[in-house]
C-alpha cells in the first residue's frame, strides 16, 4: 500500500520535474526568469580561501533572497578545478538534468576547458542580462575575450584583475622595474625573492608576465603555440630563470605553494617582494593585520598582465533561473560598488562609469581605495593574457626543468 502511494506520488511529480528543468531558459523574457527563480536554491561554487570574499558572497546571497526569493548557498572550494571535475563526472554519468552546481566562479583555463567540453549553459546568456548595459565591455577587452578565448556570453563578468607587486617600504630596499631588472636584483639580494611553483595560478601568471616581457614579438603569444617554435620563443625566459634560481629563496630548491604562502613569507621577513592578481590585495592584508601598514603596491612601468574573472552556469544546473538572477545582481552598480570597497573586498569593478546613473558614479568616485592600493590611473599598461596553450606548455616545461631540483 505504502509503496504504491510512493510510486504514484513520484509518477505525479516526475513530469513536473522534467518540465521545469528541461524547458529552455529565455533570458530576454526577464520577468519569467525572475518568476521561475523565486524559491530556487543556487549552489554557487566559488573558491573559499578568503574570509572577506566569503563574507561578500554571503551578503550578496542575503540580498537576492530578500529581493527575489532566491537562496544562495556558497559551496567553498579550495580549487575551482574540483567543480569542473564534478560537472565532468556528472556528464560522464549521464546526469544532464538537476546537476549539483548552479554557478561557478571561473576564468581562464577552467573556462576554456568547460567551453570546449560543452559543459556550459548555451546559448550565451551573459550579454542579455538586464544589467549588462552597465558593463564596460568596450574599454575592457578582457571581458569579451578570456585568455584569448572568446567569451560569447557563456560567462558573466564579475571583477577585474591586474598583476601587482608589493613590498614593505619600511625596509628601504629599491625595487626592480621589469622582470630582467628583477633577475639582477636577486643577485644583489640573494635569498630574498621567490614565486609560487607552477601550476599554481599566481606562479604560472608570474611566468607568463616574465615571458610576455622578454619575448621579442608579443603577438605570437596571442595565438596557440606553434609546434617547434616553443623552444625558440621561450629561450630568453628560461635563460633568465636559470640565472635567477640559484639566488632565490632556499636557492630555488623549494617554492611556496600559492600567493598566500608568499604573502606570509613577506610578513615573516623571509622575502622582500610578494605579488597578486588583485590591486587591493595589499590594502586588504593590512586591514586584516596580515601585513604591516608600511606595505605598498607597485607595477612594472612597461606593463603587467591583466584579466577578468567571471561566473558561469553549467549546462545541467538545477536552478538556472536563480543562477541568472544572482549573476545579474552581481553586476548591478550596488553590488559592484560594495565589492570595490576595500573594507569589504576591494575587487575592481567591471562597470563603465559613464554608463552609470549620476549617484552611482559619484559613489564610486568617493570610494577610498586604501593606502596600499594603486588607483586605476597608476596601474600602468596592461599586457593581454597569452593563449591558454602557452600556459600549459610553460607549466610542463617548468616542471621538466625545475620540478626536480633536488
Amino acid at each position: 500500500m505504502f509503496r504504491r502511494t510512493v510510486i504514484k506520488t513520484l509518477a505525479a511529480l516526475l513530469p513536473a520535474a522534467i518540465a521545469t528543468s528541461a524547458h529552455a531558459v529565455d533570458v530576454s523574457d526577464w520577468k519569467s526568469v525572475e518568476e521561475a527563480a523565486r524559491g530556487q536554491t543556487v549552489y554557487f561554487n566559488a573558491w573559499g580561501g578568503a574570509q572577506n570574499i566569503n563574507d561578500y558572497i554571503r551578503w550578496a546571497g542575503d540580498e537576492v533572497e530578500k529581493r527575489y526569493g532566491v537562496k544562495v548557498n556558497h559551496v567553498k572550494l579550495d580549487d575551482t578545478a574540483n567543480a569542473v571535475s564534478a560537472v565532468v563526472a556528472a556528464k560522464a554519468a549521464g546526469k544532464d538534468e538537476g546537476g549539483e552546481i548552479d554557478l561557478i566562479w571561473i576564468n581562464g583555463e577552467n573556462f576554456v576547458n568547460m567551453k570546449k567540453q560543452g559543459l556550459l549553459l548555451t546559448p550565451g546568456w551573459a550579454d542579455s542580462l538586464p544589467n549588462w548595459k552597465y558593463v564596460d565591455w568596450k574599454n575592457k577587452p578582457t571581458i569579451t575575450v578570456d585568455f584569448t578565448e572568446p567569451v560569447e556570453g557563456l560567462e558573466s563578468p564579475w571583477g577585474m584583475a591586474k598583476f601587482v607587486f608589493f613590498q614593505d617600504t619600511a625596509r628601504g630596499i629599491e625595487m626592480p622595474d621589469s622582470f630582467l631588472q628583477l633577475v639582477d636584483w636577486t643577485q644583489k639580494h640573494p635569498g630574498r625573492f621567490t614565486y609560487p611553483a607552477p601550476p599554481d595560478f599566481i606562479g604560472s601568471s608570474f611566468l607568463k608576465q616574465a615571458l610576455t616581457e622578454v619575448v621579442a614579438d608579443k603577438s605570437v603569444l596571442q595565438k596557440p603555440v606553434v609546434e617547434g617554435k616553443f623552444e625558440t620563443v621561450t629561450a630568453p625566459l628560461f635563460a633568465a630563470l636559470d640565472r635567477m634560481h640559484p639566488n632565490m629563496w632556499r636557492g630555488g630548491r623549494t617554492f611556496p605553494k600559492n600567493k598566500e604562502a608568499l604573502r606570509q613569507l613577506l610578513a615573516d621577513n623571509e622575502v622582500d617582494i610578494a605579488f597578486a592578481f588583485s590591486p587591493a590585495e595589499a590594502s586588504n592584508a593590512i586591514a586584516n593585520n596580515e601585513l604591516p601598514d608600511t606595505v605598498r603596491s607597485f607595477v612594472f612601468s612597461g606593463g603587467t598582465l591583466g584579466n577578468s574573472h567571471f561566473v558561469a552556469i553549467p549546462y545541467n544546473a538545477a536552478a538556472k533561473e536563480g543562477a541568472l538572477v544572482f549573476a545579474n545582481f552581481l553586476i548591478s552598480p550596488e553590488a559592484q560598488l560594495k565589492k570595490q570597497d576595500p573594507e569589504v573586498w576591494g575587487d575592481p569593478t567591471v562597470l563603465n562609469m559613464d554608463a552609470l546613473p549620476q549617484d552611482d558614479r559619484k559613489a564610486f568616485d568617493d570610494l577610498d581605495l586604501g593606502v596600499a592600493t594603486l588607483p586605476p590611473s597608476r596601474l600602468g599598461p596592461t599586457y593581454n593574457e597569452p593563449h591558454a596553450s602557452w600556459m600549459e606548455r610553460l607549466e610542463v616545461e617548468w616542471t621538466r626543468r625545475y620540478g626536480v631540483a633536488n
Binding site: Y43, N45, W47, G48, G49, A50, Q51, D55, R58, N73, V75, K76, L77, D78, D79, T80, A81, N82, V84, S85, A86, V88, A89, K91, A92, A93, G94, K95, E100, N110, N113, Q117, P190, A197, P199, R250, G251, R253, T254, F255, K257, E260, R263, Q264, A267, D268, N269, E270, N288, N289, E290, L291, P292, D293, E392, T399, R400, Y402, G403, N406
Partner: protein, 558 residues
Amino acid sequence: MLRLAPLIAIAVLILPISSGVLATLLPAFGWFPALGGTTVSAEPFRELFREPGIWQSVWLSLKTGLLTTMISLGLVVAFFAAWSGTRLFERMRHLVSPLLAIPHAAAAFGLAFMIAPSGFLMRLVSPELTGFVTPPDWQILMDPGGLSMSAGLIVKEVPFLFLVTLAAMPQARAGDFHRVASGLGYGRMAGFVFTVWPQLYPQIRLAVFAVIAYATSVVDVALILGPTSPAPLAVRLVGWMGDPDLAMRFKASAGAILQLGLTVSALLIWIVLEKAGSALLQVCSLSGIRYLRDGALRWFSGGAMALAAVLVLAGLAVLAIWSFAGYWAWPDAVPRSFTLKTWMRSLDAVSGPLWITLLLGLAAMVIAIVIVIASLENEARTGRTGGSRSLWLLYLPLIMPQPAFLFGLKMFFLAFGVGTGFAALVSVHLVFVLPYVFLSLADPWRAWDSRYAQVSATLGGTRNDTFWKIRLPMLAGPVLVAAAIGFAVSVGQYLPTVLIGAGRWPTLTTEAVALASGGDRRVIGVYAFLQMFLPFAGFAIAALVPAAMFANRRAMRA
C-alpha cells in the same frame, strides 16, 4: 540477525570500494568515454613514467612511510617498556591522549610555525642570541629528504599507536610478566620487550599497517611540511586529478594504481622487517644477557615522547595566540596587538558546519560500532573468524589512495542516482570509520578471556546475558576508545566529504582546508581549535565514562 552482521560489514566496505576501484582502473588503462578515451592501452602508464622525477616521488613516499612507522612504533614500544605501570606513564598518558584528537593538518601547521626559520623558536632567540636580523635562509620545512614531513607524521602517529597499545594492554597481564622477568634478573625494558611485547604486537599489528598505508599516501601533511620538487607521489596525484586539463585524469588514474602498488610494497617490506625483528628478538632473549643497564635509554624514551607531545601542544598554543593576534612581525616573540576580530568573524560562520560535523560523525560512529560489535559477537559465538581474506577487506579503504577511489565512487553514485544526500555521505564516511573501529576493537575483543563466558554459562546465564552483563561492560573501555577513534576519523575526513557531499555538507574540516588554502594563520588557529574540540570531547568521554562506571571496581581500572 546477528549472522547477517559480517555480511553487512562486507557490503559496507566492498560495494563502494569495488565500484571506486573499477572506475579508477578503467581510466588508468585509457578507458573513459566521457573524456574521449575509448581504447584500452598502457599509454596512461607510459605518460606517468615519463613524468620528471616520478621515481624520486615514489622513493620519497616509500621512505617517509617506513621511516615514520619505524620511529613511531619504536618510540611507543620503548616508552611502554620503560615506563608502563609508573606514575610518569599515567601522566604522559594524559598528555599524549588529547593529541589523537588533533587533526593532522592542524598539528602540522602548529609544528611548521614552531620550527620554521622565521618560526616561534627562532623568534624567541633572535636577534639577541643568534644575531639574525632577517630569518636565516635555512631549509628546515619542506626539506628535500622529507624529514620535517616525517616529523609531522610521527607526532600524530605516536599518540595513535600509544592509545591502541594501551587498549590492548589489559589483556597482556604486563604486571605479572614484569614481576617474573625482574625476578629472573632482567632489566625493566628487556623484560617487557621479551615477555609482554610479543603478546601485544599481534594485537596492534593492523593499526601499524594502517599507519604505513596512511604515511605512504598522506596529502594534507605533505602539502604543509613535505618537499615540493618533487613532491611525494600522493600530492602529485591529487594535483593531476584536480588539473583543469581533463586529459590528466588518465595519468592520475595510472598514478593511483602506482600509489596502490607503492603502499602494498611498503607493507611487504614491513612484513620482512617484522620477521627480521622477531629473529633479532629471539637471538637477544636466548643470549641470556639481562640488559640491566637501560637507565639512559629509559630517560631517552621518556624525553622523546615528551618532546613529541610538547612540540605539538606548544605549536597549537602558538596557533591559539595567532587567532587573537594583530600584526605579528618577525622577530617579535609575541604579537604587538591583540584583537577578537578573527574569532568573531569565524564564529559567525561556523555554527552550521559544526552541527553537520557532529551529526555526521555520530551517525557514522554509531552504525560502525553496532556493525563491528555484532560481527565480533557473531564470530565469538560461531567460532568462525572471517580469516585473513576479510582482514584484507578491512585494509582496502586504508590502503586505497583516497582521491582516485573516491572519484570513481562519485561516478558510481551519480550513475545510480544516489546523489549527494546525507545518507550517501554517512555511507562513505562509514567506509573509513568502520575499519578503524574494527581495527581498534577486534583484538581486545578477541583477546577477552572466554572462561568468563564459561563461568557465566555454568551459572545459568544465556549467551545474551553473558554479552550484555559481562562481556560488554568488561570491554566498555576498548569500545568507547573505538567509538572515539571512529568519531575522530569521521571529523577528519576531507576528500570524501567534499567529493561525495558535493560541498553541500560543509564540515569543520572542509571549511578549515578551504580556509587553509588562504594561508592565514589566524583563521587556521580558530579552525584548528574548533576542529579538535569535537574529537577531544569524544576521547574525554571515552576516558571518563569507564572510570565513572567502575569507580567501585578496583580490578576494572586499566
